[in-house]
Each structure stands twice: as structure tokens, then as C-alpha cells.
Symmetry: C2
Subunit: 249 residues, 2 copies
């Protein structure tokens, strides 16, 4: 399955073309097409803004008409900010992305209009469906932002990154139950000695509350050792004092 | 439930601060805080880039230290591009957004680092969890793009826009079944007259195939009338011709 082609119709600002290229590269798209750019082309500002995605601007295909730019594509979405007079299916970027992924091995395009005027109705009429990005109140996304959100959704629709993870790394394995039990025993011993677990009839509830905190933090083995080291340091003077007192008595 | 605060630590470029403000306004966030900006502040480029979100840059609170900027917040996410040495929970922007929505009425912050260096480990250590935006290969999102994707996900997590819709408008109501049946009858009559529905034993299957096309297009009432008008126009000369022929015979 190949990534969608991004087509910018009559773009005015090199910065936006460069921002589009950078957004595309971040999400695995590589083919950029320009229809009748309104700025000089090639364009220094586009190259500067593309940064590491420079290959995309260097290799962008330029055509004189939209029909030429769309000719070989099999499924094309037109991105518009506002409602159109044309009765056409309007999709969220997420829904459009799901359809792109479901479409299988077809050549897909996502079309964006000019910065000031957007897409003309004539241009929209050459596309299968419309993408409109939902926003809070009056939409004022610029061209680079609109491209970013559309290509992000395409990537996201197939992304398998765990929604939550902790990168323990080789030195940061989770502790075994026994290692947690040793931490509990160490802490509970010191808290008993120090008189914190008082009165005796509250002791068990207090202990369970403290164990819950330690479980909730999902410690690494290394961190259980750090806490035990902290306990040793915190109680060192105290025990010495007590031992001395004991010895004196 | 109030929208999250966005905090930019040591931002270098006014353009990025303005782009962040514009992204925020598009998705319903209004409070921007800056920690020790490295560019002159107030900043013309920030204002120019913010466009309609100028109020956010005008009213941005500036503080000297991150601790000062985070002091009143109850849940803070640090956005980083790459793995950190620190063992900390790493979330996708989507998962972080779900947690923000679930957290209820707490004051939330999303923290972004300096353009070149990102967030320092010391800064990350003041936050509850980390957001890392999944990308294809080497991540090279700029600051404005990272803010856009994070605030978009916050908006998206509670957005109820229909994933697909057709805006029929008052003049574009869907046809009743009867109106569709009239269109079918009109078309099938003309296709019979013209000899298209041939041979007779294939007729029923052909008719069903044509009706399926017409259903799939989800026509408006107006469009059914347009098609019938097209049929009248397309067959006008033809029937006249036939009638003349008939009259001659």
C-alpha cells in the first residue's frame, strides 16, 4: 500500500510548501505535487522550511492544471475549511484516513487549495469526497497546519504505538514480587521502629495504604533499591543514636 | 472543564510562539505561558503568525522559571520528541488527551521545550507524564507542529462531528421513495425505448444494476429532477425524429 500523494493547488507561499513537505516526511508520505504555484519555483523559503524533507520539495512535480496533477489517481479527497454549495460527502480527517487505509492498493491523493481562497468549486468537483477539519469556532488553520493534520491522521490510522508505556531499558527491569516484599518489609520495619505506625489498631490499614502508593508508582528494581538506600541513609544517624543510647544504658 | 494551558519553555523563535497560539485558538485553548523566552518579547513575528489568535500572544504570561509557570497546575504533561533516561510513563497524544478529558475539573498543562534542545531532564522531572508524538522514522516536527498535534488531539477527544455527512441544506432534501421510483420509471422507459435494455432475458439484471448505481450516489430530490431533465433533453431530438418517421410511415 503506497502513501497518499499531496497536491497543493496554486500555493502562494514557499514557507507553506516547505511546511507541508516537512509534515509529510514526518508521517511517511513522500510525493508532493504542485499545481501552478503562485510563488517562484524552486523556492528558497520552501527548502529552508522543509529542513530534512528537502527531497520532497526538490522532487515535487509541477503541473499547469489540476486535471493533469490528478490524472493517475484513483481516490482523491479535497480539503476545505468551510461548507460548499456542492452536495458532496464531507468527512472528518479521521474518517477519510480510515477509508484510505481500507481502500487497499489504490493511488490516493489529498488536495489542498490556495492559502487565501481555498479550493474553487470547480476543483472540488473533480474529487471523490471532501475532508473538513473540525475546529473550535471559526476555522483559521493555515495551509501547512491543514496538511499536517491530514497526514497525521493517515499515519495514526495504522499506527501501533502503545498508547501508554514505560521504557524501562535493560537496567530498569520491573522488580519481582520478592523484591517488592523486601522493600515493604524494610520500610515497615523502619516505620515500626520510628513509632510512625501508631496506634497499633490502625497499623494494618496504614501499611496497606503505603503499599498501595508503592504499587501505584510501578517502580523499577533499581528504584526499589534506591528507596531502600534512602531508608538506610535516613535512619543511620538515628539508629546509631539509639544504639549508643542502648549501649549507654 | 477548562482547556489545558500551554507552556513553552525557553522558546527561541517568535514564529513558533505565534504558530502555537494560532493552533491553540483553532482548538479552543486560550491560555499561553512562556518561560524565559529567548527572543525579544513582545514579538512582532509572533503576533503576525498568530493572526486571529493575537489575544493569546498579547496576554501570554511570562515567567522566569518553569516552577513558577507550573505552580498552580494539577496535571502536567511534558512533550518530548525522543526517549529520555528518566523512567516515566510515555503516552501517545491521543491517550494523554483521553486522560485530560477523564481528569475532570483539574487545571491541566501541556509543556513544550526549546526548539533546539527540547526539554531538559530537570524540566521533565517536574511533570506527571510524557507525551511523545509517534512519527515515521526520525522525528523532526517543529515546535508549532508539535503544539498543533497535541491540542488537536485534546479537541478531537471530545469532538462529536459526524465522521461522514452530506450537507443537503434546505433546497437539497433527500428524495422520497416515490420520487426515486419515478426516476427509475423514467430512465427505464427511455432505455427500453432506445433499445438499450437488450436482450430481454438480461433486462431485469441490467435494471437492478442501474438502480444500484442511482442508490449509491445518494441523490438529493433536486438531483433526481436534474437527471430527469437530462433524460428529456437527451431524448428530445430522438423522439421527434421517431415521431416524424412514424408520421411519414
Amino acid at each position: 500500500m503506497s502513501a497518499p500523494v499531496v497536491i497543493l493547488s496554486h500555493p502562494q507561499l514557499g514557507e507553506n510548501i516547505g511546511a507541508a513537505a516537512r509534515a509529510m516526511a514526518n508521517f511517511g508520505l513522500s510525493e508532493l505535487r504542485l499545481v501552478a504555484p503562485q510563488c517562484p519555483w524552486p523556492n528558497e523559503r520552501a527548502t529552508a522550511m522543509a529542513v530534512t524533507a528537502r527531497a520532497l520539495t526538490d522532487e515535487a512535480k509541477v503541473s499547469a492544471t489540476l486535471k493533469e496533477a490528478l490524472g493517475d489517481l484513483e481516490l482523491v479527497f479535497a480539503t476545505t475549511a468551510r461548507e460548499r454549495g456542492v452536495t458532496k460527502e464531507i468527512l472528518t480527517p479521521a474518517e477519510a484516513a480510515r477509508r484510505m487505509r481500507r481502500a487497499g492498493d489504490v493511488k490516493i491523493g489529498i488536495l489542498f487549495g490556495n492559502e487565501r481562497a481555498g479550493l474553487e468549486n470547480e476543483e472540488v468537483s473533480l474529487c471523490d469526497a471532501v475532508i473538513t477539519i473540525p475546529t473550535a469556532g471559526f476555522a483559521s488553520l493555515n495551509l501547512g497546519q491543514a496538511v499536517l493534520l491530514a497526514v497525521y491522521e493517515w499515519f495514526r490510522a495504522a499506527d501501533e504505538t502503545a498508547s501508554s508505556r514505560i521504557d524501562h531499558g535493560p537496567l530498569h527491569r520491573p522488580p519481582t514480587r520478592d523484591e517488592m516484599f523486601k522493600l515493604f518489609a524494610h520500610l515497615e520495619h523502619d516505620l515500626t521502629e520510628s513509632g510512625f505506625l501508631f496506634p497499633p489498631n490502625k497499623r494494618d490499614g496504614m501499611v496497606r495504604g503505603i503499599r498501595a502508593i508503592l504499587h501505584r508508582t510501578r517502580l523499577t528494581y533499581q528504584e526499589t533499591q534506591t528507596i531502600r538506600g534512602m531508608l538506610v541513609a535516613l535512619t543511620r544517624g538515628k539508629y546509631r543514636g539509639e544504639k549508643k543510647a542502648d549501649g549507654d544504658s
